[in-house]
């Protein structure tokens, strides 16, 4: 069954990828989607068996992969609660996104390719979450990176899409570099890459020193920091986050699947999976906390002022990932995973809802051009509201359980750690911001005046879009095939927290996780977070309500306030609008020098020195020699005979002069 879960998407990819063109779009869609549905159903069954039921964790081995000296790697599926949670998330969201895409992409000529990529991504992601060793995880890790690259650049005619795809790939390389180094270090320390062996060896390695860069460092800290570097890249954490907003160039279902629900959470999953290692490295955990908190805050601030509907959600994702890392950093691995789980539902919902809005608006993404859409697309409006409620943590929605728990855990940690204080403050503030920008999005999109352009420019753009809806330029509700996934996700966003919170982070913890996650003996975060002052528990709610009211005032009650505030603080506004100038900074620090250096090596080093002296120079000499040698072949018999005589004469002279030795 587990094998089927993982490999059905691969089958779908192969069918749609190899035969998509001859099958035609519709069969490709049906094949990949139905395979994914089967996979998702099986995943839920597995979840019930392993997570809720009593089925033991297992590790079916598929075969040997690499056997080289001490390095023995097998293809194996590690099935435990953590895996099945991820399986459920990945396959559910993926199958809903497949379904949704049938409607969303129905005008695109290369749908087989799209669905093939989606299935490929799903397969890679499943390989990642079922990995039983670091190398297999790395395989999935790179596989999702590849699929992400392909899907971001799906509309490769658009230069911006290509640029975004390249950017995502390159920034991820930075993280992967760290991840790979981390794997090497783990292998160097434990002599294995299999999880069981590593985890067994981890406690013994605590406090071990290694010598790098001329100084001694704690081995586990270095390892975990390197591994976390990979997670930072994949999960778009502070400093390596710049690719995620740009990745919105891809089709919206892709954003929902990859850049909200699944791939970006791979970093969170990885840290949770490697919790036995991270538990041995408190310094690294503190670092994780700080990075997570910083990201949560920083992304939220940017989200406040963005106007592109997808970018707002993208920064929101970034921010929520920060929350997850805060949870991991303070030792609440199950908290992080729980937030991952709930977040997958409501963030996918928001993205797909946004997709529905965009669909309705004929591929218009700028919120300033929307407004008053709630009457045109009421169902989407309802779903978006549910998503927003869940995201902001409205009581009893999914986000309420998971996000508030994280803030509480951060408070619990702050009692004995500076990083905890930092994390608590930033996450609380970010919660307010989250509420503000989420409601801002809803208000700008669904309330207020209709801004839909009915001028000639709009028509021109429309015609250019080759949209195919000749009958009506007004916003229209999406087809049923797109609304069903919205409804299902909406259901999840409302109830996932309520249903599962006890299992994930509450009293059912032990029975549910069954040692899939590891907590050190001194780690009592789950108990500590329940024993905080009651007032602290209300703080997130207050922040949420405050954000909501502020957004209500600024965008509904007194429209125009936003512009006044922005005009009053131009510096701050531009700073936020330009995303803290990170892109410009990186451009200045990395991109330009790299280009300069590249050009130097290319023109000067390679072109002039290596080519000039090497290939070109040598080949020119070779031609010279050839011309001379060929001239020796005169065709005259006596020349030939003479050459033979000279040869013999040379040889015997050599012996006479050199003497016989």
């Amino acid at each position: 069954m587990y094998t089927a879960i993982v490999f059905l998407p691969l089958l779908g990819f192969l069918i749609a990828g190899a035969f998509g063109r001859s099958l035609g779009p519709r069969p490709s869609e049906l094949v990949t989607t139905s395979l994914l549905v089967i996979s998702a159903i099986l995943s839920w069954i597995a979840f019930i068996h392993v997570g809720l039921g009593e089925a033991p964790a297992s590790t079916p081995v598929l075969g040997a992969w690499i056997n080289s000296g001490a390095l023995n790697i097998e293809w194996a599926l590690r099935i435990d609660t953590l895996t099945v949670v991820m399986l459920v998330v990945v396959t559910s969201v993926s199958c809903l996104v497949h379904l949704y895409s049938i409607g969303y992409m129905h005008e695109d000529p290369s749908r087989p390719r799209f669905f093939a990529y989606l299935s490929l991504f799903t397969f890679a992601m499943l390989m990642l979450v079922t990995a039983d060793n670091l190398v297999q995880m790395f395989f999935g890790w790179e596989g999702v990176g590849l699929a992400s690259y392909l899907l971001i650049g799906f509309w490769y005619e658009k230069p911006s899409a290509c640029a975004a795809a390249i950017k995502a790939f390159v920034v991820n390389r930075v993280g992967d570099f760290g991840f790979a180094l981390g794997i090497f270090l783990v292998f160097a320390l434990t002599g294995s890459v299999a999880f069981d062996t590593i985890f067994a060896a981890a406690p013994g390695l605590a406090g071990k020193q290694i010598h790098i860069f001329g100084m001694n460092a704690d081995a586990m800290t270095v390892t975990c920091l390197l591994l976390f570097m990979g997670a930072m890249g994949k999960s778009a954490q502070f400093l390596l986050h710049t690719w995620l907003p740009d990745a919105m160039e891809g089709p919206t279902p892709v954003s929902a699947l990859i850049h909200a629900a699944t791939m970006v959470t791979a970093g969170v999953f990885m840290v949770a999976r490697l919790s036995p290692l991270f538990e041995q490295a408190p310094v690294a955990l503190t670092f994780v906390t700080i990075v997570g908190a910083t990201t949560a805050f920083f992304a939220a601030t940017i989200g406040l002022v963005q106007n592109d509907i997808k970018r707002v959600i993208a920064y929101s994702t970034c921010s929520q990932l920060g929350y997850m890392f805060v949870a991991l950093g303070v030792g609440g691995y199950s908290l992080g995973i729980f937030h991952l789980f709930t977040h997958a539902f409501f963030k996918a919902l928001l993205f797909l809802g946004a997709g529905s809005v965009i669909h309705a608006m004929h591929h218009e993404q700028d919120m300033r051009k929307m407004g008053g859409l709630r009457k045109d697309i009421p169902f989407t409006f309802a779903m978006m509201t549910i998503g927003t409620l869940a995201l902001t943590g409205f009581p009893f929605t999914a986000g309420y359980y998971s996000k508030d728990a994280i803030i509480e855990a951060a408070y619990a940690t702050s009692l004995h750690s500076g990083a905890g204080v930092y994390a608590f403050l930033l996450t609380v503030i970010a919660a307010g911001f989250t509420s503000f920008y989420s409601w801002r999005l809803v208000f700008m999109t669904f309330f207020g005046e209709r801004h839909v352009a009915h001028d000639d420019r709009g028509h021109a753009a429309h015609a250019h879009d080759d949209h195919g809806h000749g009958h009506d330029h007004a916003p229209h509700e999406s087809p049923l095939v797109m609304l069903i996934p919205l409804a299902l996700l909406g259901f999840g966003a409302l109830f996932a927290g309520l249903v599962f919170s006890s299992s994930f982070i509450g009293h059912g913890y032990e029975e549910f996780w069954k040692k899939a996650l590891y907590s050190g003996p001194g780690n009592h975060i789950l108990y500590a977070m329940h024993e905080i002052p009651e007032a602290v528990g209300y703080v997130p709610f207050v922040m949420m309500a405050g954000g909501f009211l502020l957004a209500l005032y600024v965008y509904v009650i007194a429209p125009g306030t936003a512009k006044r505030i922005a005009d009053a603080n131009p510096l701050l506004y531009r700073f936020l609008l330009n995303k803290w100038y990170f892109d410009e900074l990186y451009d200045l620090i990395f991109v330009r020098p790299a280009f300069w250096l590249g050009r130097l090596f290319w023109k000067g080093g390679d072109g002039r020195i290596i080519d000039g002296l090497g290939p070109d120079g040598i080949s020119a000499r070779v031609i010279d020699v050839t011309n001379r040698v060929v001239r020796l072949q005169t065709g005259y018999l006596y020349h030939y005979a003479f050459a033979m005589l000279i040869g013999v004469a040379a040889l015997i002279s050599w012996y006479l002069v050199g003497g016989v030795r």
Partner: protein, 202 residues
């Protein structure tokens, strides 16, 4: 110095000189004649060694057959050797330098040449006294040297096939002698008897 030694040096000297003249002579017919002279002297050397049979064979085959055939060929073909020797002077300096170097080196070898101990012992393999030269050859030709003898035969066969393949041409309009046809002719188809009227003129 006994008589044998005198003749040895005589034959050798004439042979070397005539061999040189073979390549030096301007007239190709002279060259062939010098070649014959060299063969004759070589057979003289064989005689000195007591190999009468080889000496005679040399005279009969090489002088009598091969060289004479050569002579015919050279006389029948109108080869302008002067033309072939063009460029000879052009390469003479370099050629002579190489030639002289090789010659000197070969002389040095001759000076420094030694024989192995085994060779000194096995230098002569005397023929038994009561066996004639021809008989001695016959004794080993099909026994000890059967392989080499057969191989030589194959070499000659190949040479013959080669000569035929490369030169024999079946020209359709050339009249050929067919012995069988000749023998099969009868008087009836060879001769036609016509009655010629007398005193009628033609």
């Amino acid at each position: 110095m006994n008589v044998a030694a005198v003749f040895f040096y005589l034959f050798s000297a004439i042979m070397l000189a005539s061999a040189f003249m073979v390549i030096a002579a301007k007239n190709p017919v002279h060259s062939v004649l010098f070649l014959i002279l060299a063969f004759v002297n070589a057979s003289g050397l064989f005689l000195l060694m007591g190999a009468e049979f080889l000496a005679m064979i040399l005279v009969v085959v090489y002088v009598g057959a091969v060289a004479v055939l050569f002579l015919f060929v050279v006389m029948m073909l109108d080869v302008d050797f002067a033309e072939l020797k063009q460029g000879f002077l052009q390469y003479l300096p370099l050629g002579s330098v190489i030639g002289i170097v090789v010659a000197i080196e070969l002389l040095l070898v001759m000076v420094g040449f030694t024989q192995s101990d085994a060779a000194l012992g096995a230098g002569a393999s005397p023929i038994q006294a009561n066996v004639s030269n021809t008989e001695a050859l016959g004794l080993v030709l099909y026994t000890k040297y059967v392989y080499l003898f057969q191989a030589s035969g194959l070499v000659l066969l190949t040479a013959m096939i080669g000569a035929i393949v490369l030169t024999l041409r079946h020209k359709p309009d050339v009249k050929r002698q067919v012995i069988a046809d000749q023998n099969a002719r009868t008087r009836a188809d060879a001769i036609e008897i016509k009655k010629a009227p007398s005193r009628a003129g033609v």
